[in-house]
């Protein structure tokens, strides 16, 4: 067979591993269905307490998505409040909204986001979607893509850096966090300028978290491969977070 799961565990060892994982049966079932239906990247696992955001063109995206029937167009017609403008404030550590109330009076509101504990807790909760076997295979693949010391850095710290040979920008790849883009190209520069944080999840991710549908190291491999192979596409397909925004994870 041309399609081979990399480094399959012996059956007895897999049974032992999955004995401790209540979601293993569902995960394996989705894997079998994906193989039959030829969804090469698999089927993302819906989670009860996490909203699954799926790439719109992915097969069965609408059925699997738990975003619901909400659309911005419906909200603007039904709600008496009109949002005129919104932006992030580094000083206030929150989103600022300028809106018109029911009487037409212009008001402002600050929605503070002093920390990302909720984001972190949701990410922790989404870990049930991944299996140790999947993460192990992803680590084996990453080990073939980077040098030994880089892989060691990743195992011990959850991150590593690589400079693009094309653009000269330096990327800090992190497990379960957006990739930070640093500009250290100026020869006389002694400090690095943070350009942004790039967030990208193949297929799907869980809203309000840093968790993707794929295991954490698969997301890192996706970032690394795209940066190396097509940097423009990496930027085009990613969500760019300002360094000061909490979603950047800095």
């Amino acid at each position: 067979m041309p399609v081979q799961p990399g480094d399959e565990l012996p059956p007895d060892k897999r049974v032992l591993l999955e004995q401790f994982d209540n979601f293993a049966e569902l995960r394996n079932g989705l894997k079998r269905v994906a193989a039959v239906q030829e969804h090469w990247a698999g089927i993302p696992m819906p989670m009860q307490d996490a909203e699954l955001i799926i790439e719109p063109k992915y097969p069965n995206a609408e059925a699997l998505s738990t975003r619901g029937n909400y659309t911005p167009e419906q909200q603007s017609v039904e709600s008496p409040i009109k949002i005129r403008n919104a932006w992030w404030s580094d000083r206030l550590r929150g989103d600022i909204y300028i809106y018109e109330d029911e009487a037409g009076k212009v008001q402002h509101l600050v929605a503070p986001k002093p920390h990302m504990l909720k984001h972190s807790m949701l990410t922790l909760g989404c870990s049930y979607a991944w299996g140790i076997e999947q993460e192990s295979r992803a680590l084996n693949l990453l080990a073939t893509l980077v040098q030994h010391h880089t892989f060691k850095q990743y195992l011990l710290t959850g991150m590593f850096m690589e400079t693009s040979k094309r653009s000269g920008l330096t990327y800090l790849f992190r497990k379960l966090r957006p990739t930070v883009v640093l500009d250290v190209r100026a020869k006389d520069s002694t400090t690095a300028r943070i350009l942004c944080a790039l967030c990208l999840h193949p297929i799907a991710y869980y809203a309000d978290s840093w968790a993707g549908a794929m295991c954490p190291t698969d997301d890192v491999i996706a970032h690394l491969s795209l940066m190396r192979g097509d940097e423009h596409m990496f930027w085009k397909r990613s969500n760019q977070h300002l360094p000061g925004r909490p979603e950047a994870g800095l």
Partner: protein
């Protein structure tokens, strides 16, 4: 010498396609899958050996099922952009040198960043690749 494609997969972590010249049936099946992935918008990042012996990753735009070859662009977009900037500099110099009341001499036509449609083929056997599905954002 075999080539591999690592497909990032939700349920399996990493699924491998193998292009083994000794097994034509598997090569045909693998080729069909690669072609289908490209059609669906997957990014195929392949490791290409450059003329100076170094290895660089490039994205495959297409795949030839009959010859098991990836089609990649034969130019680097960042290098092309730099060369465009350098080519425009003499053009400005020619315009400033014209001393006939502002009438400039004939200038060379502006060249675009993309150097035509040059592509090259890379054999799938003996090549390492990673397939990344379309992004849902983040």
């Amino acid at each position: 010498m075999t080539g591999t494609v690592g497909i990032l997969n939700v349920g399996a972590g990493d699924t491998k396609l193998v292009f083994d010249p000794a097994n034509s049936q598997d090569c045909i099946r693998a080729a069909r899958i690669v072609k289908d992935m490209i059609r669906r918008g997957y990014a195929l990042l392949i490791e290409v050996v450059q003329s100076d012996g170094t290895k660089q990753y490039q994205r495959a735009y297409d795949f030839k099922e009959d010859s098991f070859e990836y089609i990649v662009a034969d130019f680097d977009p960042v290098v092309a952009q730099t060369e465009d900037v350098e080519e425009e500099a003499p053009q400005v110099g020619v315009e400033l040198a014209a001393g006939d009341g502002g009438q400039s001499l004939a200038t060379p036509p502006r060249k675009s960043g993309r150097k035509g449609s040059r592509t090259k083929r890379v054999s799938a056997t003996g090549t390492k690749a990673v397939a990344v599905a379309r992004s849902a954002g983040g």
